[in-house]
Symmetry: C2
């Protein structure tokens, strides 16, 4: 895969297919990416505060993700420091905000596989 010298990110997978949804899914599917957007959802955070909010994730990967998110136009660095969502980023955040409600229902849903019983008898 051809690499690009842009700060801290490779070309988003699927960006060549011309289907922006693929590019978006790949970008959002990188580690800590969704979490970062989630933590910034209602107020800007300094890089250190964000690190704390993200369960002390390593600054290396956070910095990488922040660069990518800034390139994508979802996150920006405020004048006085601190990362915040751009209008576009805020919009994105709103799109997957229903996940919160879904997550609550998910936990309380009857899901025997989560109790670690291994696989039920398979089909063959």
């Amino acid at each position: 895969m051809a690499k690009q010298a842009v700060s801290g990110s490779r070309p988003v997978r699927g960006s060549r297919t011309g289907r922006p949804i693929m590019a978006l899914l790949d970008l959002l599917g990188r580690r800590w990416c969704l979490r970062i957007l989630w933590e910034l959802r209602d107020e800007p955070l300094t890089s250190r505060a964000l690190r704390t909010a993200c369960d002390e994730a390593s600054p290396t990967v956070l910095q990488t993700r922040l660069s990518e998110l800034r390139e994508a136009g979802f996150v920006e660095l405020g004048e006085g420091g601190g990362y915040g969502l751009t209008p576009l980023g805020r919009e994105l955040c709103k799109t997957f905000m229903p996940l919160h409600r879904f997550a609550e229902r998910w936990r309380s849903s009857p899901s025997p596989r989560l109790r670690g019983e291994g696989e039920p008898p398979r089909r063959r």
Copy 2:
């Protein structure tokens, strides 16, 4: 980090915090996870068809993700073969379906950072 012998998945990050949203964000943030859900959005696919749809991703990681998604109760293996979404998975898929429309607007949004001009003058 302690490992666990459950089929192809470690404990979801953030699952100890008791906040299901964290667990969900971590699960969905793993590579190819969102893509898999996306590709299964309207019809079940065989493992091979899914691999083709996912741009020939390696079967190792696909199999791992499929196990995790099955544990989570989002995906199931049909009786005659082929992976499909469970009702819960279909619901999850619906929650982030608006991403499609967002992705379209995202591409056509004025985003100078995507053209690789490097960083604009920073704050200090």
